[in-house]
Amino acid sequence: MELGQREEEEEEEDQRQLTLIQNLKATVHYTVGSMCQEAADAKGVRFTKPAIAAISEVTFRQCEHFAKDLEMFARHAKRSTINMEDVKLLARRSSSLLNYITEKSEEISRINQEQKDKKKKKTEGGNKKSSKQAVTEMDIDD
């Protein structure tokens, strides 16, 4: 009885995992499609559907690789949390991407620092909310 229950649970989990993966893939596909649309409009080129599907599939798999690499890097640095350093290490191959990420990280840290300073000056309660919103907005924009 217990074994049967466990198997069912495992199957359910697998199904959930699959659906989760499918949802993620669908999200990635949608995002890739919209980005391709923008690029097509900008360059005056068209993207075929199989091409967009291929790009989204590659992107998804690459994300898996990134996640594994990030975890490896964090563990290599004897940390249990993935850090900005890990992300920079991941992006070291592409110089332009590395520059971009470095700039953004500096910007974020700067903003966070400013927010912290503001917090210290003002009362904590109200300022926390505003600072968090500002940080999240910055993230979205990035």
């Binding site: 490896m72 890097f73 290599h76 640095a77 350093e85 890990d86 191959r93 110089s95 590395l98």
Partner: protein, 573 residues
């Protein structure tokens, strides 16, 4: 005749028969091409034919099929067949020696004989034709039938037998009476060894069978020629290097050219990794090392005057420090390549003894690899056994300093490639770095290169190529070997460029990983991480498994003493 077919025979025994019955001409070999297990029958066939009137056709068939068969070590019959054709061409002694040479590799891989030896003594007596040599059969056969586990023992026996056999040949087939006396002895021996035969469940090829595979590997590995290497080291002059602090600002990853920023020697990086080194790594290191010895000599001749300043700085023995000194122009390569390394170095603390230790170990390994590679290079002077690199914070930078910017071409970078740069953590140790730098030959400036070119024609092309590329030639040769079709020169050059870039990236990654972990030295963990990213090391396959699989014991034997010996490059003694 029946017993003959069952008789298990070595090539030697077969040759005996052949020699005896040479006038009888070719034996009639049956058509059956059997596996190793049926060697006895195949080997028995020639004997049978010796007695029977030979038929050339069968023999020719056999010989034709012989090459078609895979060259089994146990296929003594095959050897016999092959040699038989030449039987009349060469003297029996020569033939016998040929067979013995080929048969010696073949271990006891003889098909399991079942009760094959019992009838031998009886039948031998019956055979009047068999001369004294033939009577030795029972002696030899038992040794052959020894189980693989007793291979060594059997080989020893065989050695004895060979000498005996040769003595017999020299004597020109001794008197039969002498041999008859051996029969009882041989019979007893055969009975003794018979027990071994019965235990032969499966006959497996001896370890030597796998040797051919090793022989086919790229000829990167060479025996360490310590003396030659030391000679070369002595020739390397010491040159002072201006301090190049300005370069430290460079980030580990060059923004413009991430891969070129730290060309540094992959070799060094590899050597940096403690413990296991994969074959590829060692090969890389070897290649890198090659450049080292050549470079130092060049630099040595060019700038003798520079020796004095460096001599004060560098290690106790001038040999090691010389290589890297070179001229400032040479060091441009260093600077260019080692930007990343330097940056990391500059960041980290200065001269840590531990780091120096690490570096020295690496250097030693590099030296070792260089020694391996630079066998033919006799210019390098002898160097003392243990070279201690004194940490010198400034010196390392000096070597790099001269002209970080000026490096014209990648080729110069190649010169730097070897290790020196990469030592991320250990860089602080100036002496160590110097050591590393010289390990990897730096390309001198072009005019100096031109001067040196005539000196070193033997190792390979000089001026147009980097020492790095000369080292990569080995890869190209291996590549063309396995490609099975001819390769263009341009293809080889492209291949070398790709390999160069690949190795640089690899070493760069190692340095980055070490820096990421907040360390100054590349450790085994960094190498493991790199391999994990490459997909070589997975959750199923660990690093040690790969080492066992790809790093042959003979090379481990060379590496381990260097790695474990601390500061001494060469194994003690």
């Amino acid at each position: 005749m029946a017993f003959l077919s069952e008789n298990e025979g070595t090539t030697r025994t077969l040759l005996h028969h052949v020699l005896e019955t040479q006038p009888l001409s070719s034996p009639v070999l049956s058509n059956t091409r059997q596996s190793k297990r049926s060697l006895s029958t195949s080997m028995g066939r020639p004997r049978r034919t010796l007695r029977d009137p030979p038929s050339r056709t069968l023999l020719s068939k056999q010989t034709k099929t012989a090459p078609a068969q895979p060259k089994d070590i146990g296929a003594d019959g095959q050897f016999f067949v092959e040699h038989y054709d030449f039987l009349e061409e060469g003297t029996p002694r020569i033939l016998l020696k040929k067979i013995l040479q080929t048969a010696s590799e073949a271990s006891v891989l003889v098909p399991a004989l079942v009760n094959s030896q019992e009838p031998e003594p009886v039948e031998l007596q019956e055979e009047s034709k068999w001369n004294s040599l033939e009577l030795q059969l029972p002696e030899l056969e038992p040794s052959v039938t020894v189980a693989p586990g007793l291979l060594v023992h059997s080989r020893k026996k065989r050695c004895l037998r060979v000498s005996e056999f040769e003595q017999e040949v020299d004597q020109g087939l001794a008197v039969a009476s002498d041999l008859t006396g051996r029969q009882p002895a041989s019979a007893s021996k055969s009975s003794v060894t018979r027990s071994f035969n019965l235990t032969l469940a499966t006959v497996r090829p001896p370890e030597s069978v796998e040797r051919p595979g090793l022989a086919r590997r790229p000829p990167n590995r060479k025996a360490i020629d310590v003396e030659a290497f030391e000679q070369r080291l002595k020739d390397i002059p010491l040159t002072p290097l201006p301090d190049c602090r300005t370069y430290h600002s460079a980030t580990p990853v060059d923004e413009d050219r991430p891969f070129q920023a730290s060309p540094d020697s992959r070799g060094i990086r590899r050597s940096l990794a403690k413990g296991q080194e994969l074959k590829a790594v060692t090969q890389k290191a070897n290649q890198r090392m090659e450049k080292g010895p050549r470079k130092p000599t060049k630099s040595g001749t060019r700038s003798p005057s520079q020796n004095t300043p460096l001599s004060t700085i560098s290690m106790s023995t001038g040999t090691r420090s010389r290589p890297w000194t070179g001229t400032p122009s040479q060091n441009s390569c260093f600077s260019a390549h080692s930007l990343s390394a330097r940056s990391s170095i500059s960041r980290e603390a200065r001269a840590k003894s531990g780091v120096a230790h690490q570096v020295e170990e690496e250097e030693e390994r590099l030296m070792d690899d260089e020694a391996k590679e630079s066998e033919e290079d006799t210019e390098i002077p002898q160097s003392t056994g243990n070279i201690r690199v004194q940490p010198r914070p400034g010196s390392w930078r000096c070597s790099l300093g001269p002209s970080p910017k000026g490096l014209p071409a990648d080729e110069q970078r190649h010169g730097l490639d070897p290790c020196a740069l990469v030592l991320p953590g250990s860089c602080q140790v100036g002496g160590a770095i110097l050591f590393v730098l010289f390990l990897i030959p730096r390309l001198p400036s072009k005019p100096t290169q031109a001067k040196r070119a005539p000196k070193r024609r033997a190792p390979g092309p000089r001026q147009p190529r980097d020492p790095d590329k000369v080292g990569l030639n080995n890869y190209c040769k291996a590549f063309s070997f396995y490609a099975k079709i001819p390769m263009e020169k341009s293809a080889s050059q492209t291949l070398m460029k790709c390999l160069n870039q690949y190795f640089r990236t690899l070493c760069d990654d190692l340095e980055t990983f070490a820096h990421h972990a907040g360390r100054k030295t590349v450790l085994l963990a960094d190498l493991e991480l790199l391999m994990r990213r490459q997909g070589l090391v997975t959750d199923d396959i660990s690093l040690y498994v790969l080492v066992e699989r790809f790093l042959p014991l003979e090379y481990r034997r060379l590496l381990i003493p260097c790695a474990a010996s601390g500061n001494s490059v060469f194994p003690a003694g």
